[in-house]
Symmetry: D3
Subunit: 277 residues, 6 copies
């Protein structure tokens, strides 16, 4: 995550929440008054974005704000633990508070939710992976949070990964034709992934040397069979309808990757507050 | 919601998801090939953002895309209902698809979750209201979705509403002093709201003519008492720890407004897909 | 006034005046040559924006520039008084000079003009208030200058205040209908203001609990009558055709607020120069 | 004035005034309701920016708005004359109204004020010219308005004109040295102007072939003498303390150009309103 | 190449060249005067960006400009051939002319230079590939031009491709360690490439399953040996010091990819002009 | 060259090359690991942009990076010379490396190519001058590099120089008419240049007091004659088809300025690398 890009994003988040100023606080505090506050967990969770994002929200708002004791990404905290301590001008602490908390709650929520999936399959050689079902505008942070929770990332956007879907195949007439057309035009640095729904499609993918075969909404049975057929000649990725309840069963099929939209679109926010010292 | 501001936001969402292009689709389709697809509900929910946001994602991507049969905000749909139909260049439909769905799922999720709260209290003269606990970057859309679900909006940001909290009061010495200082500086067009935790604070608020009294994390008992004391001389707003399970009990206390962070930070996304015709 | 927002605005002002560089100064001075200059009043006026804006223009241009002895907003100065002293690289002092002076002259002009209105009514319990008739792009600074001159601010933009005008009323059929429609949709944190031209309209406003009643272009006589009828049940705001010559007469009617477009659109600029030391 | 640049500027002006939407109008009107209004002079003045700027504010807000009968720049109007007629969605007419009027009042004010200076010297072969004392952010529009009023423009910014001032000269040791250094570095397409305060400086300028000699705050007497000495070998520009009262006397000295900061920083706004039809 | 992204880029190119307006043309032509011109090859070359970029420069400047007979990318033209014809307002044709030509000359230059390399190796199963040595700001267009000339693209930026270089390896202690660390963190959709300088490094790469092996500045002899050892178990990429004179010899070594920085940083511009009709 | 404008440009160049992060380096190095590297000439050339641009690329990426021993613009270096030394966080050195090198190679290339032209005519009183044939987006840097190589700059864009070309003349009927129309509208601070192709046109230019006469694609013979006729009453500028082979012959004609598009569109990039210490 590039720090310049991050700062730009945070600046625009602050602009949204602050508008032309915090009318209440600017009327009451002088720019010189300083304060100190802890950002504190109100429940148990896996931290994402304390040191890397929330801290930076405060320093982007005012570079005089001092951060201390920020917990690294991936730390497990329980209710009452302090994630980071901030001190500096009260007005700016108050201005940055809500954005910092909103991002931290969401990122830690995603990390925590991801970690639960990861634990369920911890004894299998499989990666839990995100999708493009992220919150518009926050993809960089959300994918970062998935990694903080022990998951891994799928392509970032339409320009840095190839995924041939049914309408691409239909337009070309066959998987082979689609793969050939793609292979001749896209950078050789990108793997080619194809979405399949049948064993025949899996076999056609293997014939034309596809790098990643997505097994889309297949039954456990069919997934297992596909994995067997693929036999490590390509990466296998299971996708569609995966929940905490069935993720272990999916892992048992032997797939390499399990991608789950819910990691980012349905992770519950963590409860985090700011306590003044 | 201003359309120019909305377009700017959508353009930046599209830029995030598309990057410098959809390598897969641009390799396979020509810019001239056209298609047609329905955006379809996969479960029951209250629509927000079909006509107003998702449709616009497509036309911002390419103004040649035609939208038809878009459902108005607030419509209740069931699995299988079409929310809108889009037709135009396939490449642009594919480029806009994910952003449109991501926004629609989130906005409809918020509207649906809000509607559940609203129903619970439909026989009481009370407003269900959002907070600033929104997704950074999407506040305009999320507050819009709350309204589509029958809720109402609290202040948009720190510059268009006054909320005097405990550290503001502490800094001034008393509620009266804080209110006086604020009243002399902020626009007379904004109401003044004060966060209270005790009956004494409520009484002090009434003495200095506060417009809105937030009853923060008070018991039902204390809330009821506060409402009685306020006796319509100010708006009363209940806040903190409100869930679907207890919202009706809160409404029974007689408060005017119930504000709920969960409306925006914890609404589950709706299941919505795009079916090609 | 948020400092990040301010810096962004000042950066764009500097870009306009500097273009790709100060060809004259960059040809003559080296980046290392330093200088020192006073910004000096050439006439008597009320300062706005010395410490808060002009100083910041210089530090935004080059953070090595040192500011000293900047006068606080609202200070009354006479010809020859120094408003602030700047020292640092000559090239950057020269680049920032014109923007700093242009803003300072305008802001101090507005503060001074506002102060003249405020003095005229200093014995009445009334606020002198601005409007949306500000210079496009500089509203934040101009409203700030009104406050520095002792005035107060009306709504900032169309999104943070409600003002129901004649064509809104016409579209709804009546004031009551318009107020009801508005009340059910806008945030409860905003007061509702209605523009009235007759006593009947004032009475209807009172019946439906309007928060602020604008008495638009009414005679002194009618204004006085309206104020009597309103009897503190709403704020009364006089507007239209107010000058230094008649503002005291308006205040005598007993209105709470007098709003004056001329504060921002017609305040004469103050004469301020930069003297090298 | 480039139309793309103009549109960008107007979009940012609209964003300032509209914020996230016109809460009042969006609550009352549907996006389909249309209306029609005249923008009307309430006093006599010279028009600037009706056809070119105000009209564009409306079409930038919504390209469905139709403009008719817009008066060309430089037209003299009297109270009651219509400057342009707009028709389209009421919500967007109301959103664009204030920005359009604010710009039109200011631009026409500048054109009118400029025209008064121009008339005073209409029998002399002299140009009335602006300076860099413009409103930050609006320089392009304000210099355009000066031209619409019959004046002409000085350099636009520090990068497209050379003006050697006293501290440049001091740093180089002499005018000749400064001119030589500048001449060897700046584009040959730009004229070189030097600020002078004595006859000796004027003579030195002539010796080193300066293109424009600014006669800064000189008495009429000294100005006349300088003009005589210059004898058309360079353009002569009078600057400093010029008012409507003394401008003709300045013109009588025979200078080629009279530059006046007040044209842009002190022109009174014109009175212009919008009448619904 | 996404059209919204392209338009944004072109708008900023136009802003650079036009500034606040074309003073010459705006003084002479009225906005209504129209004209028509051909963009014509003055020498033989391979076209890139006529239909896709130059045409768009004109329509971004003014959407009323009509484009006709634009040649597709990859077309070979000879002196005198028309690449596209433009017609519309003269002012806007003149404003867009230089940017359109500058881009077209550069893009066609790159396509033509690439095509010369491609021809040299046309009988070998090898791809001619670009690098990150592109003109800052124009990477999207320059990589597009490489493809138009028959070449292919390497990674677009540091975020969409993995290239492990010597200092990465040094920091990890070994290639294997570096690859393992990378593999566990980056998206599975990206291939892993390692820069090698010796046969031992190539062998280590093969042992840890690297996808692409860059043979950096190796002799023909060593390259041939490396290709033999790799034996299609990874893609082999030759890089460093490749010219038109030696590219065929490189191809003869059997490598899969030849990457050449000169394609973008040293392609001579084509000679193209605009002829008015 | 204004430093704020430069930083903005460099930030956008970095964003292009880095995207959301350097996946390889961020996986391998911690943000705390530091390094040190020399930027080194691999061949002989004239430096442009080491101290002024490349150094700034690094500090814009991370202000903790320390620059030392940066060579001033215009220095002649030979293979092996160090242009500047950078030290700081390895991740940021790697992120900034490519952009710094790409700019430095191009700028030094232009300076070197310019210097070759300048040397060829060093005994003649003539300036070697650039044109608008620059790389879109990089004009400020490229014109700066021309100056670093001993050349001088023509107008920067369409708004800061007047160049009357054939279609302007045709539209007006004659050169005199065009010049008159221009003179009455453009700032008096800009010289007026006219493009001529015949001796008659040159004579007409002189009659109407044109400041610069461009002798476009004239033979040496005709150029010499034109220069004689002009006889220092205007600047003479030779343009069109000028190469290293014929530039001295052009200088011999006595023209004041020789403008050459190739300086910026066809200068070969210099070979520069970064060596880790």
């Amino acid at each position: 995550m590039d720090s310049n890009l991050l700062d730009e994003l945070l600046r625009s988040c602050l602009r949204e929440d602050i508008g032309r100023g915090d009318l209440t606080s600017e009327s009451i505090f002088s720019p010189e008054q300083t304060g100190r506050a802890d950002i504190v967990a109100r429940e148990e969770f896996v931290v994402a974005g304390a040191q890397t994002v929330a801290a930076r929200v405060f320093t982007v708002q005012n570079k005089m704000i001092i951060i201390s004791d920020a917990l690294p990404d991936g730390t497990r905290v329980k209710a009452g633990d302090t994630l980071l301590t901030v001190s500096g001008p009260v007005i700016d602490l108050l201005k940055a508070e809500r954005v910092a908390l909103n991002l931290l709650q969401r990122m830690s929520g995603i990390a925590t939710f991801t970690a639960r999936f990861v634990e369920k399959v911890s004894t299998y050689p499989v990666r839990i992976c995100d999708t493009r079902k992220t919150t518009p505008g926050l993809r960089m942070l959300e994918k970062y949070a998935v990694a903080a929770g022990g998951g891994s990332n799928h392509r970032f956007n339409l320009a840095d990964g190839i995924l041939i879907k049914d309408n691409h195949i239909a337009a070309c007439g066959s998987i082979s034709e689609a793969v050939e057309r793609i292979r001749s035009t896209v950078p050789h640095t990108l793997k080619i992934e194809v979405e399949t729904e049948t064993i025949e499609e899996v076999q056609e993918c293997l014939r034309c040397g596809v790098d990643i075969i997505m097994l889309d909404n297949m039954s456990f049975e069919m997934t297992r069979k596909a994995v067997e057929i693929i036999d490590k000649r390509a990466l296998s990725e299971s996708s569609g309808g995966i929940t905490l309840a069935n993720v272990e069963a999916v892992a048992q099929t032997g797939v390499d990757i399990i991608s789950i939209g819910a990691l980012t679109h349905s992770a519950p926010a963590c409860d985090i507050g700011m306590d003044w010292l």
